[in-house]
């Protein structure tokens, strides 16, 4: 689904290249935009540059050349100390969930709220609300290690929503999940997108992508953007 031009741009890559010292070029001359409210997939084989693209969009990495702009902040001028400003506008989830083991679902979400400066009294109710939003209200007190993969990913999504971000980045979020859990997570993404949040998801699963024909599709091959449904 081509992005309506009137929407503000949340992520903008302009002639971006990323080279790693040992691995060589992960991205070459990549340019595209993600607009507000958009749902987009980036696909490609393993090593095609999907994760690198998401890391750049999360300002976890800086491009070797070119520019990445995220919610108005430029990779050229944003210092490492200021990265938190981008993180407050961009949520991120991963294939391996990256939760704090030994803590409950509500504690994991609460921790994210606490470290972003939310008032202590508000943390509990807000964490509960976020868990309800991802369909986990009954499992709030469960230790994350005791939850299923799909439930753990829901906790990770709830954590990514603590700052009410403009865009949610998801790096192979269904890679460790079975078919049923995958469907549940994708329904959640669609729901969040319907409420106005942009979702930018990396996946190698083309079967999954085909189920969402209205979403925009970007395809990377050996670090080059070879297909963009918005311009095709």
């Amino acid at each position: 689904m081509p992005a309506p031009p009137r929407l503000a741009l949340l992520i903008k890559l302009t002639q971006v290249a990323k080279e790693y010292p040992k691995r060589g070029f992960a991205l070459r001359d990549v340019s595209f935009n993600i607009a507000k409210g958009e749902m987009a997939f980036v696909t490609g084989h393993s090593g095609s540059g999907k994760s690198t693209t998401l890391r750049l969009a999360h300002m976890a990495d800086r491009p070797t050349s070119g520019e990445v702009r995220v919610t108005g902040y430029s990779s050229a001028t944003l210092s490492s100390r200021e990265v938190w400003k981008v993180r407050r506008r961009v949520g991120m989830v991963f294939q391996d969930f990256r939760l704090l083991p030994g803590r409950s679902a509500v504690e994991n979400v609460g921790f994210a709220l606490e470290v972003t400066g939310v008032n202590r009294k508000e943390i509990g109710p807000r964490a509960q609300r976020l868990l309800s939003q991802v369909g986990l209200s009954t499992k709030a007190g469960a230790l994350v290690n005791e939850l299923s993969g799909g439930e753990q990913q829901r906790v990770a999504i709830a954590r990514a929503l603590v700052n009410d971000p403009f865009v949610l980045l998801a790096d192979e979020p269904t890679g460790n999940l079975d078919e049923r859990a995958t469907r549940g997570i994708m329904e959640l993404f669609v729901e969040l997108n319907a409420k106005g949040m942009a979702v930018f998801m990396a996946t190698h699963d083309l079967e999954l992508v085909r189920r969402y024909p209205k979403a925009r599709l970007l395809e990377l091959d050996h670090g080059r953007l070879v297909y963009d449904s918005a311009t095709a």
């Binding site: 981008v86 991120m92 990256r98 083991p101 470290v115 972003t116 700052n163």
Partner: protein
């Protein structure tokens, strides 16, 4: 408040790790404490040896009492001299009989006293070195009725050498011990920070400010340093008591040194934690 709460929570969540960090800090500072105890007592021993450095001016038997009194006054007024004491032939003999009883017969026979009268010059603490002693000796030798001046040249030279060796050893060993302590404390706190790298990662991931991430670790490091410092103080004091009771008499280090040790431990804990966390802050 959050920083202090989190720092205390870290001790509660992982008491073994936090305890180990504090124990390693304590051990490192204990080494420094033992070294401080040893070097302080070495310093005291050298100072007490220095106090025994004096100049003895032997006088001819025919020297007049008025000349001796004048020389005693003049020599006592030298800036290097703390005091001058006259020892008569009779007193010298009594002292010899008391200190060297094996030669009692030699000193007691024929009613002859072979020992000379003398002036004993006690030196100012700052003047107990070879150069100053030689200046005093030269001033005393200028009197015509002075037979000889003795100050134990070899003794002063040895003492001076001992002082220099002591100072060099203290600096070298102190530096080495401090480096070892720094490495141990640094490693202990790196491990403590490493154990919480997941939390640091999540904090960065969701947009916590660097200062916000830093503060609990700074406090945690300072607490480990403070607890380690207090434990090291207790261990060093226990060692001092044991040495005093079972081996030999030693002096306890000044309170200011103890306070400085604990303060350095606390400060170093914070700095080591801060350095350890910097590495993780750049990872996300």
């Amino acid at each position: 408040m959050y920083a202090l709460r989190e720092a205390l929570a870290a001790f509660r969540r992982a008491p073994v790790l936090a305890g180990l960090s504090a124990a390693m800090v304590a051990l490192a500072l204990y080494i420094i404490g033992l070294f401080g105890l040893a070097s302080y007592n070495l310093q005291l021993a050298l100072s007490s040896m220095e106090e025994r450095v004096e100049v003895v001016v032997y006088l001819r038997d025919d020297a007049r009492q008025s000349e001796i009194d004048l020389a005693q006054t003049e020599l006592a007024e030298l800036p290097q001299v703390l005091g001058a004491r006259y020892v008569s032939k009779r007193e010298a003999l009594d002292r010899a009989r008391r200190d060297l009883p094996e030669f009692g017969e030699l000193f007691g026979g024929a009613g002859v006293n072979p020992l000379p009268q003398s002036l004993e010059l006690e030196l100012q603490p700052a003047a107990r070195n070879r150069e100053m002693v030689e200046q005093v000796s030269a001033a005393a030798q200028a009197y015509p009725f002075v037979e000889d001046v003795e100050y134990g040249r070899e003794w002063v030279d040895k003492l001076f050498t001992l002082r220099r060796i002591g100072a060099a050893t203290t600096a070298a060993l102190g530096g080495a011990f401090f480096a070892v302590a720094a490495l141990i404390i640094g490693t202990a706190l790196r491990i403590a920070v490493f154990a919480r790298r997941d939390e640091i990662y999540i904090m960065r991931l969701v947009g916590a400010r660097n200062g916000f991430i830093h503060r609990p670790f700074l406090i945690e490091g300072a607490l480990a340093g403070l607890l380690g410092g207090i434990a090291a103080w207790i261990l060093t004091y226990a060692t001092y008591r044991a040495v005093y009771a079972y081996l030999f008499e030693v002096a306890w280090i000044p309170s200011a040194w103890v306070a400085l040790g604990i303060a350095v431990g606390t400060l170093f804990g914070s700095v080591a934690s801060s350095l350890a966390i910097r590495k993780h802050l750049g990872e996300v």
